[in-house]
């Protein structure tokens, strides 16, 4: 049964992304695209003539997509959260290598920014995993969702996680990786047709990845998890519509001055 969910993970992600575009449009008081728009985009992209810069560049994007799908499958199967964070690291490194493998200035700039985003959010993700382990006693997700009470003991850690959700889903104020007005799309710039389709679907999977972290904070009650995810979804889109993009050094400063101390403080408080 779980394998069906895993196989349909990109489609689930697509529905989430489509809903998000409608939500953002309604927040801006306009109609917005149809709900199934991501799937229309997918099929249109599959219908283009294939155009590549060189083969390893295109193949690394495909590798990135499959590595990310594997990570999401690992989350659904409930494996060790720390391993999952590092599987995700492999997926990101494949994308970054793809960005560096062409001699395009925008692609390199985008990959540089992706690396800096990695420096910003990776420590917090690992600290979240360690924090959940300290409260629940196990690194496995199946063990974590059997205990309740995460929000009461780890509120500051949850706040730190909230601060890095915009980085992962590429929304303001931290969407430096895909700054359309600055670097014309960053790493995605040299992709077209089928290969852009793979990157497009990886965006959906990123949504699933980061919102699973939020869901785990609900503990044993599925309803609490769902409410948390919906709340964070709304909050992230509200903040996206309301703020501007920060510069990359500012993003790292904000994360290290605000999110990191919150996370460490919470861990110290637990260990007392």
């Amino acid at each position: 049964m779980i394998w069906v969910w895993i196989a349909l993970a990109p489609i689930l992600g697509g529905l989430v992304y489509g809903g998000e575009r409608v939500l953002r449009a309604r927040m801006q008081r306009r109609l917005g695209p149809p709900f199934l728009q991501p799937f229309y985009d997918m099929f249109k992209l599959l219908d283009k003539r294939t155009l590549i810069v060189h083969a390893p560049h295109a193949l690394l994007a495909v590798a990135h997509f499959f590595a990310l799908w594997f990570t999401v499958a690992a989350i659904f199967l409930g494996w060790n959260l720390l391993y999952i964070v590092f599987l995700h690291l492999i997926a990101q490194m494949l994308l970054i290598l793809a960005g560096y493998s062409v001699r395009s200035a925008y692609s390199h700039l985008g990959a540089n920014r992706e690396l800096l985003m990695l420096v910003a959010y990776e420590p917090i993700l690992i600290l979240v995993a360690v924090g959940l382990y300290l409260v629940s006693g196990s690194f496995e997700i199946t063990g974590m969702i059997q205990k309740g009470n995460y929000l009461a003991q780890l509120p500051l850690l949850f706040a730190a996680l909230l601060m890095i959700v915009p980085i992962k889903v590429k929304k303001s104020p931290f969407d430096v990786g895909e700054a359309h007005q600055e670097i014309v799309g960053g790493v995605e710039i040299e992709y077209s047709g089928v290969f852009y389709e793979f990157l497009y679907m990886s965006r959906f999977l990123e949504y699933l990845f980061i919102y699973s972290f939020v869901f785990i904070f609900g503990g044993e009650s599925v309803w609490l998890g769902a409410v948390l995810v919906a709340g964070v979804f709304l909050l992230v889109n509200l903040v996206d519509n309301a703020t501007a993009r920060v510069r990359t050094p500012q993003m790292i400063k904000i994360i290290y001055m605000a999110a990191m101390p919150l996370a460490v403080l919470n861990l110290v408080w637990i260990l007392r």
């Binding site: 390893p56 494996w79 492999i90 600290l127 300290l134 690194f139």
Partner: protein
Amino acid sequence: MLLTLILLPIATAFLILYSSTRIQYLLSAAVLGVGSFLSVSLFMSTERVSFHLPFLLNAMIIAADLVLLIYFLVQGKKFNSPKVIVLAAAQLLLYIYAEYAAPSGRSAEIVVDELSRFMFLIINIVGGIIVLYSVRYMEDESVEPYKKRHFIAAMLLFLSVMNAIVCANSLLLFFFLFEMTTLASYQLIAFRNDEISRANALRALWMNQIGGVVILAGTLVAALVLDTVMLDTLLQHSGGMLLFSVALLSMAALVKGASIPFDGWLLGAMVAPTPVSAMLHSATMVKIAPYLILKLAPVLGTTLLGGVLSITGALVFVAAAYLALSRSIFKEILGYSTVALLGLMMALAAIGTKESMMLSMVLMLFHALSKALLFLAAGVLEKQYHLKSIEEMSALVHRAPKTVGFIVLGFVSLTLPPFGLFMGKLFAITSVASLLRERPLLLIVLVSMIIGSTLLVLLYFKVSSALLSNPSDTVRTEKERIPQGFSIPLVLLSLLILFAAAGFIVIQHDVLLALFTLPLLFVFALPSMIRSMEHYDRTAIYHCGEKESFDAALVYYEPSVRIKGMIYWGFGILFVAVAFVGVLS
């Protein structure tokens, strides 16, 4: 067997002095083969070997040590370096006093335990490969032939010194061999005999002499208060002055491992020929630092001293990774990352639990393999393409795909799964997290470890950004040819890395870990897929329609002078604090 390991390289060194290049290859290959075989078979056996040195040998060692210290004094005078003179004089006085105060009736001077056997593996296999490489490297170097032979002989002598130092039990013998490694470092850094080499060699000399002074101070404390100069009896004591003596010894480890603020000597040592950088300053000599802390770890355990050492090591990990982001010379970047990883190894060793000690050893092995690979590839770049700075290395994958492949393999094996160093860091995070409840101070170690490993990822992939940018695959280039003398060691090291990584995963008996390899299997299927994409259209890079191509520059992150000052002073204070904590315990 043990004697063979020590004596064989010395004998070969003498033979090398009189042989032609062909025979040099054969001899170094023989050392590699015999050394590896012996160390593997020693590793398989489990008996603990120990024996005393005959009195004559002891006397000869004392005499040699005195000659060595006087030589340092003379070198200091010759090159007008007051620091060297003062430190050499201090060492002479302390040494004579220590020899005088040492109690007689000692236990065995040479002890081979599991740690020594493990270190034999690293030293002989990796060291042997580097010696083989240096024969070919010296062919391209522009000095007189006798100097080249002296170089290779010096490397082999160094191998035997390393073999001896990891089984030395007497602190005085350890000090002698420690100073021998300092001598080797000094002479080999000054090999090219120009002004910069000489200045950097002197700097390495006086910084390492500080380590020597501190070892002698620790020996004196042990001899006067605890009435022993043997490590195994020392570690069986408990209480008061033991920790002071151990603190002084671990300060020596910090100096040898080039922790901040002593990183200057390691960075300056990069002007030496590349095999020196590979052997001395990444794969073998600086491994004495975590080795020493591992030896002292049973005592460090849960004490405050152990905590302070762990925190120092972990902070060095972060700080060195951060400082490396501002360098542009390839070997300096590798040097800084060596400093960082050594700090991590020392931090894990000082935690003191069995698991963390094993992880520290695992990290030592994998780091030695990967760093040797990276330095040897850097040597190929230096000799074949005359490239030292990463600014000149853009689009290198076009001209030298195989070398870039080795470099990227080295970087990936240092940071990503399923390779051993990453697995070590993963298990380290898990084990430190499980210890957090009892020892909350380890939180600093955990956070530093996490931030540091992300910074290392940033560092390595920033460097590989220059190497990998390939304009298009429609332009044909001429095939790259690496000479066999260079490529055989590189291939050997790569195979060893892969084999060791696979072995490490298999030993864990954890299916989930094996699944880490799956995303990377894709990489191996890459060439066939590339062939199937031959017929797709090719198009140009998008740069708003411009005709010319533009490159993005490499980004450096230079800390301001104030922050650098804060870092160095802070670590200096930590270094001295280690001694104070030792006294207070």
